[in-house]
């Protein structure tokens, strides 16, 4: 979490920078090399990397444990889809009210919790309660398709229309790739700014941070709102990628748990943790699905069981996550491990 490291390990820093550039270059040409199935896996991995970054911002940096992030995905997805289907507003424009709505809901949860200094597990339960409340609410709103699902018109287009978010799968892949890269740069900048240092102070010791004159209520609210807005953006893109929305599928607690896996496995409060975690879990999960399919074993539940065992092993033996451990093995300096 430190700032710039000056001379020590400058060489390893350069190598790491080159490795990072190569990594993103490889991802940029990936759609030309892989088939439809692998591309769909990569889309899911990048989705979890991006949402994981958003969640990590709130938990890893500002120290606020949310277990209801599926709520923001769902708000983004349902709001943009409803604006498109009912009013013909394209998602590029609809994204603004959708993200604003998610940030507003995040702010009201924050207002409720932070005003009374509800933290830790209580806050986590409050976020679950809001997500579950919304799941049941949407299940009863006919205008949003209720339990029968909300569908977007499917157009198998090969041309790319970014305004209406209509296009082939590789368009969605590139959108998530750009979002993940942009989030990486943005979070790095934030964490080098006053705001980032305030968050870390709040995470480490709220009372001390307040005594040092930080308005902890304001900065926790900012963390929740940015995280909610970012997460909603991912929801908007997935809504137009999958073209169907079901309340339990979107808001269910298993969705919220999925979101937190990548950043925890990769490394809470680290810049690259969510991306590393998303790739490790994605490869593990999909690899396992293929192996089990070939072995003819029914896969329901097995993937999540393995994820949970993996999560357990990480929190038990490597609570800092994979990335700090890996970065130390690769001889990267502290600036890169954080």
């Amino acid at each position: 979490m430190s700032g710039r490291v000056l001379s020590a390990g400058e060489g390893s820093s350069t190598r790491a920078r080159i490795a990072l550039a190569l990594f993103f270059a490889a991802l940029a040409i990936a759609p030309f090399l892989v088939g439809d199935f692998l591309l769909s896996v990569l889309v899911i991995i990048l989705y979890f990397a991006f949402v994981g970054q958003a969640w990590n911002l709130m938990m890893g940096y500002a120290g606020q444990l949310s277990l209801g992030h599926a709520l923001y995905v769902g708000i983004g997805a349902y709001a943009s889809a409803a604006l498109f289907v009912h009013f013909g507003i394209p998602p590029l424009i609809g994204a603004l009210p959708a993200m604003a709505l998610a940030a507003l809901v995040g702010a009201s949860i924050g207002l409720l919790a932070f005003r009374f200094r509800i933290g830790g597990v209580y806050f986590a339960l409050l976020t679950i309660a809001f997500a579950e409340f919304t799941r049941i609410l949407v299940s009863h709103i006919g205008w949003l398709g209720a339990t029968e699902g909300f569908f977007l018109p499917i157009e198998n287009r090969t041309d790319i229309d970014l305004v209406a978010l209509r296009g082939p799968p590789h368009m969605f892949y590139y959108i998530f790739l750009v979002l993940t890269g942009a989030a990486l740069l943005a979070i790095r900048r934030i964490m080098d700014s006053r705001l980032g240092y305030y968050w870390l102070a709040i995470r480490e010791d709220e009372t001390a941070a307040e005594a040092a004159g930080i308005n902890i209520f304001r900065y926790k609210m900012i963390a929740v709102m940015i995280s909610a807005g970012m997460t909603a953006l991912a929801g908007i893109v997935t809504a137009f990628y999958y073209n169907n929305l079901f309340p339990t599928d979107v808001f269910g607690i298993h969705r919220s748990i999925e979101i937190i896996l990548a950043p925890i496995v990769g490394g809470l409060g680290t810049l690259f943790g969510p991306i590393v975690g998303a790739f490790v879990l994605g490869i593990l999960g999909e690899g396992l699905t293929i192996v089990l399919d070939q072995a003819g074993i029914a896969t329901a539940g097995v993937k999540h069981l393995v994820y949970a065992v993996f999560l357990f092993l990480i929190v038990r033996f490597l609570p800092g996550g994979l990335w700090p451990w890996l970065a130390a093995r690769l001889g990267l300096d502290r600036d890169w491990r954080a």
């Binding site: 938990m59 444990l65 409720l112 919790a113 409050l126 049941i136 009863h140 069981l305 357990f312 929190v315």
Partner: protein, 290 residues
Amino acid sequence: MTWDIVANILIGGVLTGLVYALMALGLSVIFGVIRVVNFAHGEMTALAMYAAVLLFEGGRLDPVLSIPLVAGGLFVLGYIMQRRLVEPFIGRPEHEQFILLLSVAVILTNGLLIAFGPDARGILTDYSFDSYAFGPIIVDKTRVIAAAGALVSALGLLAFFRYSRTGKAIRACSDNLLGARVVGLNVPRLYGLTFGLGAAAVGIAGCLLALVIDVLPPLGPELTLLAFIIVIVGGLGSMTGALLGGILIGMSEAIAGLLFTPSMKSMLSFALLILVLALRPQGLFGKRAL
């Protein structure tokens, strides 16, 4: 809508609420003493329900009679969980404890899914359709048995903590950990017993719940949330709060089923949780500030 219908539904809610209360009491005991939030609480309840269903299907054992077996099994499971899994996490950051128990919860839910499949399993005893009539009030026999069993068990647990030497020792750990260590109490063992007792309460609640509702794997997370709502509404760490909270949530579910549709019943519970956290975060019966 006549008054006897309302009374019938409310009484049904109270009876089911008592079973919820016993389950929540287990959560409250574990949190109150060990200060660890058992996020796998509902999943353990679902496990107990499956055990009751299997004993009924395999051994024709009535769920009430399978209570000693299931509660004993859950006690051992709880004791081992505390000593093997949770103990190394005491003193580690709160979110790591939470993630630990979350992973246990997901392992249990998906383990149950793999073992028993996604379909609901229930118990149909020869008295499942019997009921008692008190004037215009008609109550199911299964609900009465479940509620009575839950109430007796809950009172037994409260009496254990109040009067027995071990119970007093456990309360001493929760009141003043340092003092408990100074007077020579074996804290790790007492913590193991506490988790075991909380799990045993879950085992009893699971057997009784299996009489009243069907079990399927996703019920686990739902019951975890329900237990949390009860405990927070009642006041975390307060045993009587957990009991009254259970009754209150049972009634609110019944009222929601009456006013809206049954599928919206847990929405009212969540609304109640949000309301309590907003207006009275220490819970309805809890003491101010922990």
